[in-house]
C-alpha cells in the first residue's frame, strides 16, 4: 500500500518558500492544526496537485492553478510553484515532483495557459518515462477513487445521494466505490472476453466456410454473428442513451431541487390567486344581498308601528278564528235531529236546542261569511306586515354588512400575502422553471421508452443466440480439424466470459455484505446512540441506520450523515484491494464532543496512515493526545506569518 513519507511545498498557496512535512513511519495519525484561512485545505490540494495535477475548490469543482501560487511571491514578480511527494508503495521508494512554472518568455502570467506543468517520478532512484509514470501513478492511486483517500469532511453529505437510485452524484460515487473495491477487474475482463469471443466466433465461421461440407452452415453462422453484432451495438447505444437520459433527468431534478423553494412559492401564490377569485365572487354576492336589503332600509323607521299593528291583527285573527269555530259548532248541532253535545256527548234537550236556534238567529248566516272574509283580510294584512317587518330588519342589513366587511378583510390579507410572494418571485424566471419541469417529465417518458427498447433488443439477441446454438450443434457433427480447433477456442472464451459474467454479480453481492458488516462495525464505534443496531446497505452502497428493533431510521441529521459516510469510507478501506493513506480536512463537521472523541479513537482503525487537518477548537491538542496516545505520530501547526504567508511548524 501507498505510504507518505514527506511532502515538500514551494510557494504553494500560503506556504512561502520551501517547506517540508515529514510523515513518521508506523501506523497512526498525524495532525495538522490551523485556524481558518491558514491553509489546511491548501495542504490537501497540494497533495492532490502533485498526484493528479489538479486542485479542487470547496464546491468540489476544479479550480484554476493560476491562483494557487504564493501571493507574496507573485507580488514580488515570482510566479509558479512546485510540490514534491516522497512515498513508498509495495516496498519501493518513489519521489514525485510536479511544478507549475510560467512558460518561456512569459514574465507576468495571466491564466493557466501561460504556465507549463512538468512532472517527474522516480522509483528506487530511477526516473520513469512519461508513459510508465502515468501507468504507475494510476496503479498506485487512481484519481477516480481519490475521494476515499483525500477528502473534505464538509463534503461528506454527498454520500447521502447513494440512497437515491436516480441521483447523478449517487451514481458517480457508486462507480468510484466499485472501482476502489476492484469490480472493474471483473467488468473489464468480461468486456475483453466478449471482444475476444466475437473474434474467435468470426474465425470459427471462416473455418467452417473454408470447408465444402460446412460452407453453408458457416455462412449462416457468420450472418447470425453479424446480426448479433448489430444488435449488440444497438444495445450498447441504447444503454448509453439510457445513461445519458438518467443523467439528464438527474440534473433536471437537481435544478428543480435548487428551485424547489420557488416552486413551492409559485404553487402557494397560484393557490392564493384561486382563493382571491373565490372571495371576490363571494363578496359580489354579499354586496348584492346588502344592496337589496338597503333598498328597504327606510322601512326600519316604520318598524315600531308595524310591529304594533301586527300585534293587533294577530289578536283579531285569533278572535275571528274562535268565533267562526263557535258558529260552525252550533250549526252542526242545529242541523242534526238527535243531536248530541260534542263536548259532553249527552243528548241535547229540546230546551237546549231552542236556545241554540235563538242564538243562531241572533247571528245570521251573513255574519259568518263576513267573519270569514274578515279573517282572510286580516291574514293577508298580517303576512304583508310580517314580510315588511322582516325586510325592514336592521339585523339583516348588519349581517350582510358584516359579511361584506369580513370578505373584504380576508381579501386584503390574501392579496397582501400574494403580493409578498410576487415580490419574492420577482427575480425568478417562472417560464424557465415551468419549462424545466416539463423537460423533467419528458425525460421520465423517454427513459421508459428507451427501457422498453432495451428489453426488445435483448429479446431479439436471445432469439439469435438460440438460432446460433442450434446451427452450431449441426456444425459440430460435420466439423473438420481446423473448424474443431477454432470451435474449441471459441468455447473456451465463451466459458471464461460466462464465468466472469456470473462472478461480477457474485462479487458485488459479496462486497455489499462485507461492506455492510464493516461499515456497521465502524458505525457502532462512532455513534453515541445506544439504540442503533448497525447499518443496512442498498444496491448503490447507500447505507441506512437500523434501530435495535430492526426498523430503518428514515430521516437522519447532518451529524448522522457524517458518521455514516465515515463508516462507509472505513469499510471501503477494509475491503479495497488498493489501500492507501487517508487525509481528511475538517473531519468533525457539526458533530458534538462525544462523536468527535469516538472518531478520533476510531481513526487509526480506518487506515494505517491518517492525516487530520483541523483547528484547535475542533480538536483540542490535549484531547488528540489523550485519545490517540501512541497512535499520534506527529503534530504540525500552520503558523501565521502574514495573511499570505503560513509556516508549517512541527510540534514537539
Amino acid at each position: 500500500m501507498m505510504r507518505l513519507r514527506a511532502l515538500h511545498l514551494t510557494d504553494f498557496g500560503p506556504f512561502k518558500g520551501t517547506q517540508t512535512v515529514k510523515f513518521p513511519p508506523g501506523e497512526g495519525v498525524t495532525v495538522f492544526y490551523g485556524e481558518n484561512m491558514r491553509g489546511k485545505t491548501t495542504l490537501l490540494n497540494a497533495i492532490r496537485f502533485v498526484l493528479f495535477g489538479s486542485i479542487i475548490a470547496r464546491s468540489a469543482r476544479s479550480a484554476s492553478l493560476h491562483n494557487a501560487g504564493n501571493w507574496e511571491q507573485q507580488a514580488a514578480g515570482k510566479y509558479g510553484f512546485s510540490v514534491a511527494l516522497d512515498f513508498t508503495h509495495e516496498g519501493r521508494a518513489y519521489a514525485l515532483t510536479r511544478s507549475h512554472r510560467p512558460r518561456h518568455g512569459i514574465t507576468v502570467p495571466r491564466h493557466d495557459d501561460d504556465y507549463l506543468t512538468e512532472t517527474f517520478l522516480s522509483r528506487d532512484g530511477d526516473v520513469l518515462g512519461p508513459q510508465e509514470r502515468q501507468v504507475e501513478l494510476q496503479r498506485i492511486l487512481p484519481e477516480q477513487i481519490s475521494r476515499f483517500f483525500l477528502f473534505d469532511g464538509e463534503l461528506l453529505q454527498e454520500y447521502e445521494d447513494l440512497l437515491s437510485q436516480d441521483s447523478e452524484m449517487g451514481h458517480r460515487i457508486s462507480e468510484a466505490i466499485e472501482r476502489i473495491l476492484g469490480v472493474p477487474v471483473l467488468t473489464r475482463g468480461r468486456a475483453t472476453l466478449a471482444q475476444a469471443k466475437s473474434a474467435a466466433e468470426r474465425r470459427a465461421a471462416q473455418a467452417a466456410q473454408g470447408d465444402h461440407r460446412t460452407r453453408e452452415y458457416g455462412s449462416q453462422l457468420e450472418g447470425l454473428r453479424q446480426e448479433r453484432d448489430t444488435l449488440d451495438h444497438d444495445l450498447e447505444r441504447q444503454t448509453h442513451d439510457l445513461e445519458d437520459l438518467r443523467k439528464r433527468k438527474s440534473s433536471l431534478e437537481e435544478a428543480l431541487k435548487k428551485k424547489e423553494r420557488f416552486s413551492i412559492l409559485i404553487e402557494k401564490r397560484d393557490g392564493l390567486n384561486s382563493q382571491i377569485d373565490e372571495i371576490e365572487r363571494r363578496m359580489d354576492q354579499r354586496r348584492d344581498d346588502l344592496r337589496k336589503a338597503m333598498e328597504h332600509a327606510w322601512s326600519t323607521l316604520l318598524i315600531k308601528p308595524i310591529t304594533a299593528a301586527i300585534g293587533v291583527l294577530s289578536e283579531r285573527e285569533s278572535a275571528l278564528r274562535t268565533s267562526i269555530a263557535r258558529v260552525e259548532l252550533l250549526r252542526s248541532m242545529h242541523l242534526k235531529s238527535d243531536a248530541e253535545c260534542p263536548a259532553c256527548l249527552q243528548h241535547v234537550s229540546s230546551e237546549a236546542k231552542r236556545k241554540v236556534e235563538a242564538t243562531l238567529a241572533k247571528g245570521s248566516g251573513e255574519s259568518l261569511d263576513q267573519q270569514q272574509a274578515e279573517l282572510s283580510d286580516v291574514r293577508r294584512r298580517l303576512e304583508a306586515g310580517r314580510k315588511f317587518a322582516n325586510a325592514a330588519s336592521s339585523e339583516v342589513i348588519q349581517m350582510n354588512w358584516g359579511l361584506v366587511e369580513e370578505a373584504a378583510r380576508e381579501l386584503f390579507t390574501k392579496r397582501d400575502q400574494r403580493d409578498d410572494l410576487d415580490r419574492q418571485l420577482n427575480e425568478v424566471n417562472e417560464d424557465a422553471l415551468r419549462s424545466t419541469k416539463a423537460e423533467y417529465e419528458k425525460s421520465i417518458l423517454e427513459i421508459s421508452s428507451v427501457t422498453n427498447g432495451i428489453q426488445m433488443t435483448r429479446r431479439k439477441l436471445e432469439e439469435k443466440a438460440t438460432a446460433t446454438e442450434q446451427l452450431r450443434r449441426r456444425l459440430d457433427r460435420s466439423a473438420g480439424a481446423d473448424l474443431e480447433q477454432a470451435q474449441k477456442r471459441w468455447k473456451l472464451l465463451c466459458d471464461l466470459h460466462d464465468l466472469l459474467n456470473e462472478a461480477v454479480g457474485a462479487y458485488r453481492e459479496r462486497l455489499r455484505k462485507s461492506v455492510e458488516a464493516d461499515a456497521s462495525k465502524h458505525f457502532l464505534k462512532l455513534t453515541t446512540e445506544e439504540d442503533y443496531k448497525g447499518l443496512s446497505i442498498n444496491a448503490n452502497y447507500g447505507l441506512t441506520i437500523l434501530h435495535n428493533d430492526g426498523t430503518p431510521i428514515p430521516v437522519r441529521s447532518a451529524g448522522a450523515e457524517h458518521i455514516v459516510a465515515l463508516s462507509l469510507i472505513g469499510a471501503l478501506q477494509n475491503n479495497a484491494p488498493l489501500k492507501g493513506p487517508i487525509l481528511i480536512d475538517s473531519p468533525f463537521g457539526r458533530l458534538d464532543s462525544g462523536h468527535r472523541k469516538n472518531i478520533v479513537r476510531a481513526l487509526p482503525t480506518m487506515a494505517e496512515q491518517v492525516a487530520l487537518l483541523v483547528y484547535e477548537e475542533e480538536l483540542p491538542p490535549a484531547l488528540a493526545r489523550s485519545e490517540l496516545k501512541g497512535k499520534l505520530l506527529a503534530e504540525y501547526k500552520l503558523d501565521r506569518r502574514s495573511a499570505r504567508h503560513t509556516e508549517l511548524v512541527a510540534r514537539t
Binding site: 509495495e90 501507468v135 494510476q138 496503479r139 487512481p142 476492484g182 472493474p184 477487474v185 471483473l186 473489464r188 475482463g189 468486456a191 475483453t192 472476453l193 471482444q195 475476444a196 473474434a199 474467435a200 480447433q485 474449441k488 477456442r489 473456451l492 472464451l493 466459458d495 471464461l496 460466462d498 464465468l499 466472469l500 456470473e502 462472478a503 457474485a506 462479487y507 459479496r510 462486497l511 462485507s514 475491503n575 484491494p577 488498493l578 489501500k579
Partner: protein, 67 residues
Amino acid sequence: MAPVDRSKIDLSAILTTVETIRAERFSGLDAALVEDVLRLHADPGGSDAELARKVEELVEQFASRRP
C-alpha cells in the same frame, strides 16, 4: 509474451469469488488460466485492444498445451 505480474494488487477476494464459481459451475476451465486473465485486468495500464490480444494469447497458449 510478458509474464503476468502477480504482486501488483491484492486480488484475493476477487480470486476467491471467481474460483468458487469456477469449481462449481465451470470445472472444465483451468484455474490458472482464469487467474492469469484476472491478473491481466488488475493492471490499469494497457488499452482494451491490447488486453484482448493478451487474452487471446493466453487462450492460444493454453489450448495449444492441451491435446
